[in-house]
């Protein structure tokens, strides 16, 4: 698994949009010529990728909210960010 710098601040690419889908009431990620239906984990993570909040703070907020073991949570979040950054949907401000 890729190791992300906890002090970096993940943000959404200007070319994608998170949007509430009126039909399914789920958040979807819209990108050039494509749609990604997000699972709950991805929705929670992406909703916090504002380019200002550090990865450490995002993890801390999620840990408090979900009362999840820190290691497990970190692994889920890193896995999700790895996939989304590989497709250019998420970038990291250092």
């Amino acid at each position: 698994m890729k190791d992300f710098d906890l002090q970096s601040r993940p943000g959404l690419s200007p070319h994608v949009r998170l949007q509430m889908d009126a039909l399914s009431r789920q958040t979807v990620l819209l990108y050039p010529e494509g749609i990604l239906e997000l699972n709950t984990t991805a929705q929670e993570i992406l909703g916090r990728c504002d380019g200002r909040t550090s990865l450490a703070d995002i993890l801390a907020t999620l840990a408090a909210e979900y009362d999840a073991p820190a290691d497990e949570l970190k692994s889920d979040v890193f896995h999700c960010l790895e996939q989304l950054s590989a497709r250019g949907f998420v970038f990291f401000e250092s």
Binding site: Q19, D21, L23, L30, P32, E33, S85
Partner: protein, 356 residues
């Protein structure tokens, strides 16, 4: 079972300044007047209402419609992600600024090759330089930028050069689309089909470059289905996710469906889009698997590849219900094999029929 459309391809006009011999637009075009601005805005609203989230403005050349910025604005106001699919010809600074102001998200520019002389020869027009200027404008205005190159015998051997060209242009997404043989491309098939050796080399290069450029430019290599053993899951299934509205308002389950003789399409001028999506004969004809013939009907792959492409079955066998002849299990597979084995005979660009 209910179906929901996610993407609308809005073909705004059939007019185009290019004459690419692989164009998939219909050879015989409907003889009716193009939809008006008001009609398009109504269609876009109806599409959003039944679930569409993505719109592609295409053609022909969509930049020939002076109301394009208005349609982009309407689509954005209805929450759609807006994609312009263009040759780039006709994009100037004021238009780019207007499209940006109205919320256009993404631009896909087609290139015919990396090399200007070859590119212009394929396009049948001196347009390569103008496309380069358009690409510059797309980057300056911050749109998401994709490049599309249709591959065929004339350019597939330059694949590595084509990929570095797109990457140097600053595209973040590159579609390498092996020619699909419909419309004009079907007429010119014997001139366009690459050789097996070319296809084999291209697949290797595409794989290597995809890995090399990961994180910088995403490469989509659309496989040349004539050279495959299994058909493509065309449109993710007929009437499953996609709607095409052509310039005169006919609604099609796929952009090339008008090549299926005997299939009638309903128009947004006569019916609401929701009715056409749910109720029309054309959208229901090949939904699910009840319509299938053998070998598809009892095939374990039938819900995965949907029997392949209906247009291809119709073009090659005159019966759209038959298995896509690309499939190795199709009793008509010899038709594809014959086309492939006769590919590679030296014929010049000048002997192709240019798209009009």
């Amino acid at each position: 079972m209910s179906y929901r459309p996610y993407a609308l391809l809005a073909e705004l006009t059939y007019r185009c300044p290019l004459h690419c011999p692989y164009c998939s637009n219909p050879v015989q075009r409907p003889d009716d007047r193009d939809l008006t601005t008001g009609e398009w805005i109504r269609v876009i609203g109806e599409a959003a209402g039944i679930g569409v989230l993505q719109i592609g403005f295409s053609g022909g050349e969509p930049l020939l419609r002076p109301d394009l910025p208005d349609l982009v604005l309407a689509a954005r106001e209805m929450g759609l992600y807006t994609n312009l699919i263009t040759s780039g010809v006709g994009l100037d600074a004021p238009l780019a600024a207007g499209l940006q102001r109205n919320g256009l998200d993404s631009v896909q520019i087609s290139f015919q090759a990396d090399e200007p002389e070859l590119a212009d020869a394929i396009a049948g027009a001196r347009v390569h330089e103008r496309k380069l200027s358009a690409a510059m404008l797309v980057r300056q205005h911050g749109f998401a930028f994709s490049v599309n190159v249709v591959l065929h015998r004339r350019n597939i051997s330059r694949l590595r050069e084509i990929i570095s060209f797109a990457s140097q242009l600053g595209a973040t997404r590159l579609e390498l689309a092996n020619t699909q043989y419909y419309g004009w491309a079907y007429l010119n098939r014997s001139h366009l089909l690459p050789t097996k050796e070319q296809v084999r080399a291209a697949a290797l290069i595409a794989g290597e470059e995809k890995a090399r450029l990961a994180g910088q430019m995403e490469i989509f290599y659309v496989v040349p289905d004539y050279f495959e053993e299994r058909p493509k899951p065309c449109m993710n299934g007929w009437g499953q996710r996609h709607i095409t509205v052509n310039p005169v308002g006919d609604v099609l389950p796929c952009p090339t469906a008008s090549s299926i003789l005997g299939l009638m399409f309903d128009s947004v001028r006569q019916h609401p889009l929701a009715w056409i999506w749910e109720q029309s004969d054309s959208f229901n004809r090949f939904r699910g698997s009840q319509w299938m013939m053998e070998p598809c009907r009892s095939c374990p792959m039938r819900e995965i590849d949907f029997g392949g492409c209906r247009c291809q079955a119709a073009l090659l066998t005159a019966d759209p219900r038959r298995t896509d002849p690309v499939c190795g299990l199709s009793p008509d597979h010899h038709l594809v094999e014959a086309a492939v084995s006769s590919s590679g005979h030296a014929v010049g660009l000048e002997s192709m029929i240019p798209r009009r």
